[in-house]
Structure formats: C-alpha cells, structure tokens
C-alpha cells in the first residue's frame, strides 16, 4: 500500500500565511509524514509561505514534494518531477503537476505549461515502472487536457484543485481521471490488479454492466410474456420491435461486462472520515491545541 496526496493540502486560502496557518500547515504535513505519505504534488495552496517553507517542512516530515512544471525565478524546476515507490516488487511511478501561472505567495515562482513536462517525465519513467500515476494539482480543464494528450503514457491522474469531493473514476482515452476528495472528509482507495494487459477496466463499471444485463433480461421476460398473450397484430409488432431492441441492449451490456477478462483492473472506493471512524486520542489532543473544539471552519 502507498499513501499519496494530490496537493493543495496545507493552506485554507491561497496567499494567507499567518502564524495560525503556519502551525496548521506544519501539523498537516507532519501528520502526513507520520502516516507514511510517500509523495504530495506541489499545489498552489501548499505554497502560501513560499517554496522554501514547503521544501523544509516536507523534508522534516520525510514526504516527497513533486512537480514537473513548477519553476523558480531562474526558470529551473524547484522540485523533482517524479518518484518511484516499490511495493511488493511492483514499481509505481508518481509525477507531480502544479497549476500553470504565477504563484501568488512566491514572487518569481510559476507553474509552467502542464502537459509537455508531465509527458516528458512519463516517457522517461514508463519503461521502468508497472504503473504511472500523475498527482495533478491543476484546474480541471488542464487535467482533462492532460488525460486527453497523455493517452497510454499514464495510467491514472489523481486530481486536486477545485475541491470536487469524492466521485467515480472517469475513463479517458487510455487513462482514468480520479477526484481526490476535499477537506479531509474522505480518503480514496484504489485497488489495482496489474496482472492483465492493456488499458485499465473499472470493476465498478463491470458490476454496473452485469446489473444492466440482469435488468434487461427481466424486461425481456416481461415483454415475452406479453407477446405470448397478445392477439392484436399491431400490438404484437410493437412488442416484437421492443424485444429486438432489448436483445440488442442485452448483448451490448454482456459484451461490456466481459471486457474485464485479461485486462488490468481498478476499483475505487471512498472511506468517509466521519464519526464512525474512531479518533486517535493522541493526535486528537494535538489537533485541539491548534484548532480548539468549536473553532473548526464549519
């Protein structure tokens, strides 16, 4: 198992970096380190206190900060573009991406174009990894463009920026675009089987297709009974036409449901971090020093 973050983790409002914000940011990143977080994308809301603060705090927490397109005043990359985690012999490459444009709190620092440097990093990593994931702290249009242009260069794009909350994995041409949740309300879990070949297949999509086969089969049975009982020629013709449509639909769903055979598969689940998840008392006490009860943002 590997834990990562798609960025925009540390600060509530872009540009605000007061002492309270500093304490929260340091605590969040420190907690990520304690959780064993492997890497985080450098998001705009991770840089309110500049890139030096982000780098120093992440180094202390032993969390890698990644960005293929975040450039310093000298035009050179400020963080590594990628890192590789090895899990039970499986190599997973992660590439970070940052919102294009100037970083409000870090004069001279800016996010360059997203697609080209990410694809360059992907091309370099692809031959040596089993799975390639982009941690994309970029606006959704940039994430969609990346998904479109990356084709089979990357497998998954985990996307943060707008706080879209949990949702399904969205199939692109050859990759999946996955939302990253928001405000710590959920943790996403991707279970991936890499034993097959080709593009990933979403097991939840396959489950839905199987359910559709059952539903359409039930409709076919109902229409068939009505056809047996019908005597009016016009009604019989209409029922026969409906049956033909339903049979075609069933065949289509059966084919889709069978598409997972031999393929690499993914399954995305969301764990809500609500009251049903037991608190860690020691961490909770530390949180309450930073954010006394009743002072949470909502």
């Amino acid at each position: 198992m590997v834990v990562v973050d798609a960025g925009n983790a540390l600060f509530r409002v872009p540009g605000v970096g007061d002492e309270a914000a500093r304490a929260r940011a340091a605590f969040v990143l420190g907690s990520m380190g304690k959780l064993g977080t492997f890497a985080i994308a450098a998001g705009e809301r991770d840089m309110n206190l500049g890139t030096d603060f982000l780098r120093a705090t992440a180094e202390k927490a032993k969390v890698k900060v990644l960005s293929a397109n975040l450039l310093g005043k000298d035009g050179k990359p400020l963080f590594p573009a990628s890192a590789v985690a090895t899990l039970n012999g499986v190599k997973v490459g992660f590439i970070g991406a940052t919102r294009p444009g100037p970083v409000m709190a870090a004069p001279g620092v800016q996010g360059g174009p997203v697609v080209e440097p990410v694809l360059a990093a992907a091309k370099k990593l692809r031959p040596s990894v089993d799975l390639l994931v982009v941690l994309a702290a970029v606006p959704r249009p940039d994430a969609l463009q990346l998904a479109s242009e990356a084709k089979e260069s990357v497998d998954l794009i985990i996307h943060s920026h707008e706080g879209r909350g949990p949702g399904p994995a969205q199939r692109g041409e050859s990759s999946f675009l996955v939302p990253a949740g928001e405000r710590g309300r959920h943790v996403g879990r991707l279970d991936l089987s890499l034993s097959g070949k080709g593009a990933f297949v979403d097991l939840k999509e396959l489950e839905r297709e199987k359910q559709m086969v059952e539903m359409v089969s039930s409709q076919i049975a109902t229409v068939s009974k009505r056809l047996v009982a019908a005597t009016d020629d016009k009604v019989r013709q209409e029922l026969k036409a409906s049956l033909a449509t339903l049979e075609a639909s069933k065949k289509s769903h059966q084919q889709a449901a069978a598409s997972g055979a031999g393929a690499r598969t993914l399954k995305l689940e969301w764990l809500a971090l609500g009251p049903e998840v037991k608190d860690d008392p020691q961490l909770k006490a530390e949180v309450e020093k930073i954010e006394p009860p009743g002072r949470a943002s909502d």
Partner: protein
C-alpha cells in the same frame, strides 16, 4: 483534515494483504485538504 481519524483508517486498511502471486497494488490518496485539521464531516 482529520489526521486522527485518517490514522485509524489507514491502519485498518493496511491489514489487507495482496493475494499471493498476483501483481496488485493499493493506493490510498487524499487531495484538496485545504489546511483542514479539525472534524468537519
């Protein structure tokens, strides 16, 4: 973020082991936390 809850969740999820011989990997991920440290759900 609710790190105290996230810790408990991560530990629970960590107990799921890969099936022998299968090339599998599990990725746990978050994003857009926005400096959240207190319960907000």
């Amino acid at each position: 973020m609710m790190p105290f809850r996230l810790t408990a969740a991560a530990l629970a999820l960590a107990s799921v082991a890969a099936l022998a011989g299968e090339k599998r990997v599990t990725i746990l991920f978050t994003g857009d936390n926005g400096g959240e440290v207190a319960p907000c759900g």
